[in-house]
Symmetry: C2
């Protein structure tokens, strides 16, 4: 008998499949209302799907911490720019559902776009300053789309905890700030970057890379390691460190730098001098694929 | 024995005074957590204090509909423009507390500014379009301040229902739209305008009026009645009705028009032709005091 048959799911019903897949907000709320009334703790993992080990690590942690684990799976159009990859973003709900069920997820919330952005949608959440540099500079409107959809998901699911990977470090800090500034009653749990054995940070967008690009993409994680090495050797000038990491990446012919930044861990301000630690953050195009990565570097 | 001694308040404790006054978010949440766990329904009346019958009517309705009634009392600096009356806005917590307790309020949440806007506050909620006309045009940034603080209050109190008066009709519509667009789990309950016996809409700002201005201020409610009369007589052109109401107000020497508008009930777009109904909305300065009023007019 497969595990999923034996398992009584946390929504309180015993079914052949223990995982619910919902598409409609009201239906999702109805299912969660009873669990919440019973005092069950809800963990949310917001995703755009096409799961990799990074996503699964968030779900596993959520499974450990909570009575009920909800994964939202929604490719959010308003966080993509007009020339970006919204249409091409990889999607495979069946595969995602199998993977999520295997790690014990109770519910996937997979709404259609028109359920999330209903006619006349005109409300946006803006975290100023933190969203202006790094990916925010390269992708205008991106974080407005992220914060708006994440706040909606928080309001729909009303989780006790929500899990975000550190690969999107600026996103994590922006969401933490939104939650603090708007007093959203949720605990944000940051989770470490999960990497391929050779060091490439896991990303759904890695599927865009052809074999040559896949090799070239290693330049990101290698550049981060090089940045830590420089700091360990006493390069504490943020600007010098940044420039030398840029030079390092510049040696890879398939790489085109979007940004290299040495920033404060909380405020994401560029650091002139690294006192104890910094975040070294990168966005690099490998062919047509824009990849990001970052590392906490410390003296 | 005074009523407040006999009464066991809805927070579950019996005390000489049945009403709590809180100032700190965490303390407020702690008090509400237990009530919510017991399945009690919470009604919120967001206010800037200096209560009049308009506020009290909201509290009485909240008392009827809910197990627990919370009134927030916070003069929100970010919804005032630099030349507006934030400093002069009337405040009297003792008077307000007595009035609220008399109508059965369980808790007043009265935070200091630095508890609401903590260092580095940088997150704002923007409802586009609906906020651009009427009072939004005259008071840039006003609604950004309103929506941001109201969402914060919703997140702090997590009410089942929240009560707003129709005098601030644009505010009501903006908040309804924010709640819908962001899937905020709260029911917005609109409440009718409460007027003085002679027709003046109640407002904390009426206290600014000297006796001559108080008389002149009647021009607002009279202009609204005149607008309904015009529509009943067959004046269905929004522009003609608007112009004739402006002329009516223009006869009052102490009145200076900010706007007169004939708008759609939901979208607040100016109506060229009134099909069945419209909102006639006014903002008029009487001396230095800016007053607003509105009426649903129908054929």
């Amino acid at each position: 008998m497969p595990m999923t048959c034996a398992r009584v799911n946390s929504l309180g019903t015993s079914t052949a499949s223990s995982m619910e897949i919902t598409h409609i907000i009201s239906e999702t709320r109805d299912l969660l209302r009873q669990a919440r009334a019973e005092g069950k703790r809800v963990g949310l993992v917001p995703t755009m799907g096409f799961f990799h080990e990074g996503h699964l690590s968030l779900m596993r942690q959520a499974r450990k911490d909570n009575d009920l684990v909800v994964v939202s799976l929604f490719v959010n159009p308003i966080q993509f720019g007009p020339s970006e990859d919204f249409r091409d973003y990889p999607r495979d709900l069946d595969r995602d559902a199998r993977m999520a069920e295997e790690v014990g997820v109770d519910m996937i919330f997979n709404p259609p776009v028109e359920e999330v952005y209903r006619g006349g949608h005109n409300t946006y959440v803006n975290v100023r300053k933190l969203t202006e540099g790094l990916c925010g500079a390269a992708r205008p409107g991106h974080f407005l789309g992220v914060t708006t959809v994440v706040l909606k998901l928080f309001n729909i699911i009303q989780p006790d905890r929500a899990y975000f990977g550190c690969k999107d470090y600026q996103q994590l800090k922006v969401i933490e700030r939104m939650v603090r500034d708007l007093d959203v009653p949720v605990e944000i749990v940051p989770m470490p970057i999960i990497r391929e054995p050779d060091g490439l940070a896991m990303s759904s967008r890695n599927t865009y890379l052809n074999p040559d690009e896949r090799k070239a993409a290693l330049v990101l994680s290698k550049a981060l390691a090089y940045g830590q090495e420089l700091l360990s050797q006493g390069v504490t000038s943020g600007e010098e460190l940044r420039r030398r990491v840029e030079e390092f990446i510049g040696k890879e012919p398939l790489a085109e730098i979007d940004y290299v930044a040495v920033v404060d861990v909380e405020e994401l301000d560029a650091l002139a001098e690294i006192k104890d630690k910094a975040v070294l953050a990168l966005a690099v195009r490998i062919g047509k694929t824009r990849l990001i990565d970052n590392m906490l570097i410390a003296r």
